[in-house]
Symmetry: C2
Subunit: 343 residues, 2 copies
DNA sequence: GTTAGCACTCGCGACATCGGACTGCTAACA
DNA sequence: TGTTAGCAGTCCGATGTCGCGAGTGCTAAC
């Protein structure tokens, strides 16, 4: 069932050629490219075998072969050898990411911009949920008798805020004492800790006495639940329009529609959160089934053991993994380093 | 120099037909559509005149006529008669805008979504700069010894925040007294008032004694200057790809590139701020020169005499102004009404 | 097992053709 | 004088044909 050495050589030659040109690869091309010293005719025999095994496809009878997703998966798992990113590219990324101001969202956006400009693909950045970040201050502001603005200020200058409609009016005095209580209790603890604490506290309260602060806890909880900022940044949409696979109006429209639906992108990127290092998702697998032609190279970025978010590029399946994987990897690491300085 | 009655009839027939079909209009078509009882031949004479005067163009010798921007301008100024938006559309817009939560950005985004779905064009929303909104609270949070987070909480639950690098370290105590000072002085005054006040104050200070609060004023000023949230929302990009004028890859790429450059969009929409009611900008005029094929229907939305922002649609020059202008107009008014309830 | 040779297939660009939708012009008409 | 029928002319775009080139699979010889 597994491939012979020669089959692997030929398959990888076909894939590499296809990555470069996006054009079906014929036996002549392979014969010229490989150093096996085989004639096109012999190559053809092997190619016929690979086609039978599902690694190659023919668009039509007299065309060359195109690698299938199965072939790309094989290539990624077994053939591809990654080399570290060259020094000058490292330099470029480090410089570009260093120039951003102190705002985290700026840095994330900039990372996306850098990535899309280097890769010439569409970049996507999933912003942190800040579970591991420490709380600096809680504020309540009474906007109207039954409308409270909750402001949670986190380390690194991150703000989570939410407007909450109350069923009962509250007095400003109450809000002040809520805030004092929470500040005393929670400042300098991480979001995750606070969440856990609130949960257990509320469970207890319901059975014991309804603490006068349970409402305060609820307000904080609700604010954590739905951060209202955008969580996915997309950049470089135009890049993908230059790819030869996107020539028909139909395919472009589908793609742009997909990129506009941020909630779907979010769920796609979310799948990468648990990965260690760069994860490559091909279009026919997992979360990307909506876009069978595409593939995603993405990596989580983690600060002090905490995975904050995901950064990556999305493009046609025949992307240049050999150079893009190191780029994504290094960008994720650099981003993590920069963010860790902020907290 | 001005057009005869007959020329106007024929020109408007051509424009209306072109708006519907996006296809060059021939003399037969006009003859059938108008109730003038003229033969195609007579129409042709008039069309030749209109062409000489710059109102019509021929893509090629044996094609029909296409209206020039000059013709559209004439149509908008002299021919178009607007009727009020039908009751059911009003209802729809009102309902859709009513369902949003208390967050202002949500409401703005929703307004954009409604507009793009009704108009089947690309919608753009310029978010308020909040000059007329009242301050509710000022907070300073020391993130690091020389990094301060300034948080300005405004009416309606709006937050302006900025991280500011200081040259000298400050102590938390100082920040607290800063905040107290500012809260006492500025709460419940509008952003515009505060800006004006700070400006005059700082001028005075420099010459007299350097008040210990001049730094606080500077911090607030800097925060006002650069709100870091996005200020332009774009929705319905896919709609415009269905328009027959966007068939070539080139034109699509240009368009999407233009829509990605938010700072340019911002400056385009900014031009509409001073207008009273709906303003139509054709591609060859003013701010839209970058996109000569397009036209913008936009209206400011004003609350209590204060113009907050702009909402509108952008599309090919041959948009259906007769029905879209009322839609934009009504959406802007409804948005204003909803926002005014928030403050 | 490898390879040269060959017949065959198919997509694609080049080229020609044709119909249709226009126009402008002219001459006749009310 | 304005209007209209008629007509020649123009141009686009759809359709059809053709040949080339790239590539294949098979066979027979090495």
């Amino acid at each position: 069932m597994s491939l012979t050495e020669r089959e692997i050589d030929i398959l990888s030659s076909i894939i590499e050629s296809y990555i470069q040109t996006a054009v079906p690869v014929g036996s002549r091309t392979v014969a010229r490219q490989t150093s096996l010293g085989l004639s096109p005719a012999s190559i053809r025999n092997v190619m016929a075998d690979l086609t039978d095994q599902g690694y190659l496809e023919q668009p039509h009878a007299s065309a060359g072969r195109v690698p299938t997703p199965k072939a790309f998966r094989f290539y990624l798992n077994r053939i591809l050898r990654l080399s570290p990113l060259p020094e000058n590219e490292r330099h470029f990324i480090l410089n570009q990411l260093g120039v951003t101001g102190p705002e985290i969202t700026d840095t994330l956006r900039q990372a996306g911009r850098v990535l899309s400009s280097i890769s010439r693909q569409v970049s996507m950045v999933l912003a942190p949920l800040y579970a591991g970040v420490r709380l600096k201050r809680v504020e309540f502001v009474l906007i109207k008798p039954r409308l409270v603005l909750v402001v949670l200020i986190l380390a690194g200058g991150i703000i989570q805020k939410k407007l909450i409609d109350l069923e009962e009016p509250v007095r400003t005095d109450d809000l002040v004492s809520y805030a004092n209580y929470l500040n005393e209790k929670f400042v300098d603890r991480t979001v995750a800790e606070i969440k856990a604490h609130i949960l257990s506290e509320l469970k207890g309260t319901r059975e014991l006495l309804s603490s006068r602060f349970s409402q305060a806890l609820l307000l904080v909880q609700q604010t954590f639940e739905s951060g209202d900022e955008p969580r996915v940044y997309v950049d470089g949409t135009t890049n993908i329009l230059s790819q030869p696979e996107f020539t028909t109006l139909r395919s472009i429209r589908d793609l742009i529609q997909a990129l506009e639906d941020r909630s779907k992108l979010l769920s796609i990127l979310d799948k990468v959160m648990d990965s260690k290092g760069v994860l490559i998702t091909l279009g026919d697998e997992g979360a990307l089934t909506q876009m069978p032609e595409l593939s995603l190279i993405a990596s989580p970025y983690t600060v002090m053991g905490q995975t904050l978010g995901v950064i990556g590029v999305i493009g046609p399946m025949r992307m240049d993994y050999a150079s893009l994987v190191p780029v994504v990897d290094y960008t994720a690491q650099t981003l993590a380093k920069i963010l860790s300085d902020r907290f």
